[in-house]
């Protein structure tokens, strides 16, 4: 590892502009983590024009990244105080976190969550610092077939491991690949799917698609969805966890960091999965598992550490190989492209200011978050009282005016709205927009790599398999497909009437219980 470059990165990260944008990013991230409705992916998409207008790619990407890992801190606050998970990765924190709050120990929960988040993120950043250059050097051996196979694997993993029905996610991904072909074909010069429109001849702008699909789509969906009544927050009596509580959670924090780090690298894995796995693992190894859900401090420490560790380590595939691991990373990938930075194994050599500047800004960002998350709790709770009806039009205006600022084009606004409607409809019928954006971003990479590979192999597709690295990747791809299908088939056979989701209490739904009991007796 080039230590000098690592140190220079701190020089970059500490520049006033970059510090300012780091602060903005993490604050915005925490804010949207607290607010229900908008997620980090949507916010990053909506703020892309801001990152673009700054000019300096480092500042822009530092801000966008800050939004992503900052959101993990914010989601905890509402989970603990209001029994309302602000982010999907904080759902698991609700049980023990809110239980602690009910026992008057909200400060303990928040404090442990903040400390755990900080440690998890920092360990992850250290891992990124050490592992990153190593992976990048290994990936320099990659040629076109390897890139094609790897990008395909990334898309496939996000579709299978991520939320939602697998087949639908694959359809969404395929549509994304198709959308990427709109415009002039670089190989033959022919125009594809442009329908003689001048504006389409350069293809669809990624930023517009992302803002539409994630931003407008989610705004439209939020108009419809009823959001729960925000109850009065639990009072915070104590401010900080005691030393014994810190010691008690140290194991959970350590294990959560490791789990989060590794699951975050996995495409499709990420913060949500890490928090669930870390919680389950902690509960399984506990001497008295019944404590969990009733205010076990480890039940807060483990998932919160894991989700922050995962949020940070999911940058590794993006920065070292150039393959985004999830939807938010895909949007960041697109953002980097727009800012004229190409994520690839050469990034660390060609743009060490971006690579190390970004990574080192994460150290700084996490310190800021640790310092600010507790004092700002009161502010955030007050923000939550602002009714969504007031926030909604403000976000709507931000997206419309924001997308206009990219190319001063009204056509872009219309395209964004169209994609917003598509995104809304997709949500209605259970299609995930994440794989679509991911595939769209990688689409031209996959296509050009595949076509160049076919030229290298002189038309013989078995060349993909005979090359060792791409062959391994493809074998892994096949394995993933087989495992997912097998898992679905086995799942269907063993549990015909099994229902997923939280169990209703006995007093609530007697009819439901009766049918359940009847089924189990059959």
């Amino acid at each position: 590892m080039d230590f000098q470059a690592f140190l220079d990165g701190f020089g970059v990260a500490a520049q006033p502009t970059n510090l300012l944008f780091c602060l903005i990013g993490v604050l915005v991230g925490m804010l949207i983590g607290v607010l229900p409705g908008l997620g980090p992916a949507a916010t990053i998409a909506i703020l892309l024009p801001v990152a673009y207008s700054v000019g300096d790619p480092v500042a822009g990407i530092i801000m966008l990244a800050g939004i992503y890992y900052g959101a993990q801190y914010g989601g905890t606050i509402t989970s603990v105080l209001l029994r309302l998970p602000g982010e999907a990765s904080s759902v698991v924190t609700v049980f023990d976190g809110f239980a602690l709050a009910k026992q008057g120990k909200a400060g303990t929960a928040l404090g442990i969550a903040a400390i755990g988040s900080f440690i998890g993120a920092t360990i992850s950043i250290i891992g990124l610092t050490v592992l990153g250059p190593f992976v990048a050097s290994f990936a320099l051996d990659f040629g076109d077939p390897e890139y094609a196979a790897l990008a395909l694997l990334g898309v496939l993993l996000v579709a299978t491991v991520g939320n939602g029905n697998m087949v639908k996610a694959l359809v969404a991904a395929a549509i994304g690949l198709l959308l990427a072909t709109i415009g002039r074909d670089s190989f033959t010069g022919a125009s594809r799917f442009t329908f003689d429109s001048l504006q389409l001849s350069d293809g669809i702008d990624f930023v517009v698609v992302a803002m539409g699909l994630f931003g407008v789509g989610e705004i439209l969906h939020n108009l419809e969805a009823r959001h729960g009544k925000v109850q009065a927050p639990a009072a915070i009596a104590n401010i900080w966890p005691s030393r014994s509580e810190l010691k008690q959670s140290s194991g959970a924090i350590g294990r959560g960091s490791v789990i989060g780090f590794f699951l975050g690298i996995l495409p499709g894995g990420g913060a949500v999965m890490s928090s669930l796995v870390a919680y389950a693992a902690e509960k399984k190894r506990a001497k008295d598992p019944s404590r969990f859900g009733r205010g076990a401090i480890e039940g807060v420490a483990a998932p919160e550490t894991a989700n922050n560790a995962a949020a940070t380590s999911s940058f590794i595939p993006l920065l070292t190989i150039g393959i985004p691991a999830n939807a938010s990373m895909a949007i960041l990938f697109g953002a980097l492209l727009v800012l004229n930075v190409t994520p690839s194994p050469q990034l660390i050599e060609e743009r060490p200011d971006v690579f190390w500047g970004l990574i080192n800004s994460m150290y700084i960002g996490n310190i800021i978050l640790l310092a600010l998350s507790i004092p700002l709790v009161g502010v955030f709770v007050r923000v939550l009282r602002v009714r969504p009806a007031i926030l909604a039009p403000i976000t709507a205006l931000i997206t419309i005016l924001g997308v206009y600022t990219i190319r001063n084009s009204v056509f872009d606004i219309f395209v964004m709205i169209v994609f917003g409607i598509v995104g809304y409809l997709m949500k209605k019928v259970g299609f995930e927009p994440g794989p679509l954006v991911l595939a769209f971003v990688l689409g031209s990479l996959i296509e050009s790599s595949t076509r160049r590979s076919l030229l290298i192999f002189d038309g013989d597709p078995t060349g993909f398999v005979t090359r060792p690295i791409s062959g391994t990747i493809l074998a892994f791809l096949v394995l993933v497909i087989v495992l997912s299908v097998a898992r679905k088939v086995v799942g269907r056979r063993t549990a015909p009437g099994a229902s997923a989701g939280p169990a209703p209490s006995p007093d609530d739904r007697p009819d439901h219980d009766r049918t359940d009991r009847e089924e189990s007796l059959r």
């Binding site: 049980f95 029905n165 799917f193 606004i413 939280p502 209490s505 189990s520």
Partner: protein
């Protein structure tokens, strides 16, 4: 986390909040005695809230229509791609890649049509689905009016519609927030960021 499944198979004890008595699980100190178990309480509340919030699931019609749209879309793009020339594997034409993807879409959508009809991941359109429609219309209206009369008036109208009609806010708070918002955007975009938005004033 959700192993306590009170309904399934256990001898019924309706109305007894702490009736779940698996051997060693009652927390000794914190919530013993006659207090309802903290965990079950929270689980029940969260479940209730989630059920309240979630829109009713869509039925088979949604899945079928979605799958048919997928098939139709795939066929449409396949035909177009064929027109761009497939070429050979040795010399791929511009249409080969999109054609392959289109075929994949058709196959997958067909799969959804065959086996995906029982999925419950769709959300039904309800009366409140009118709101996003109105929202989309206001978006389009603003995009159309922006180059013609500047951004101030369409933005103001959008705020009013969204806050008053879609959000149920009072006229007073709607008016105040709308004017403040548009003014803020005016100052931010035109003076702060120097971005040439079409404007009237």
């Amino acid at each position: 986390m959700s192993e306590t499944a009170p309904g399934a198979g256990r001898p019924a004890a309706p109305g007894a909040p702490s009736a779940s008595a698996p051997p060693a699980s009652v927390a000794p100190a914190a919530s013993g005695q006659a207090e309802p178990d903290l965990l079950e309480e929270i689980q029940a509340e969260v479940a209730r809230d989630l059920e309240d919030e979630r829109l009713p699931a869509g039925g088979t019609a949604y899945q079928v229509v979605a799958a048919l749209v997928g098939v139709g879309f795939g066929v449409f793009t396949a035909i177009l791609s064929y027109g761009y020339g497939l070429g050979t594997l040795r010399e791929p034409g511009g249409g080969l890649w999109p054609f392959a993807i289109s075929v994949l879409i058709v196959v997958l959508s067909g799969l959804l049509l065959l086996v995906g009809r029982g999925l419950d991941d769709a959300e039904a359109f309800t009366r409140s689905s009118v709101l996003p429609v109105i929202g989309a219309v206001t978006f389009l209206a603003m995009a159309a009016l922006l180059p013609v009369i500047g951004f101030e008036i369409p933005a103001l109208l959008l705020c009013v519609v969204w806050m008053r009609f879609l959000g149920g806010e009072t006229w007073r708070s709607t008016a105040v927030v709308s004017v403040v918002t548009v003014a803020t955007f005016y100052g931010l975009f035109l003076y702060g960021l120097s971005i040439p938005l079409p404007h009237l004033l």
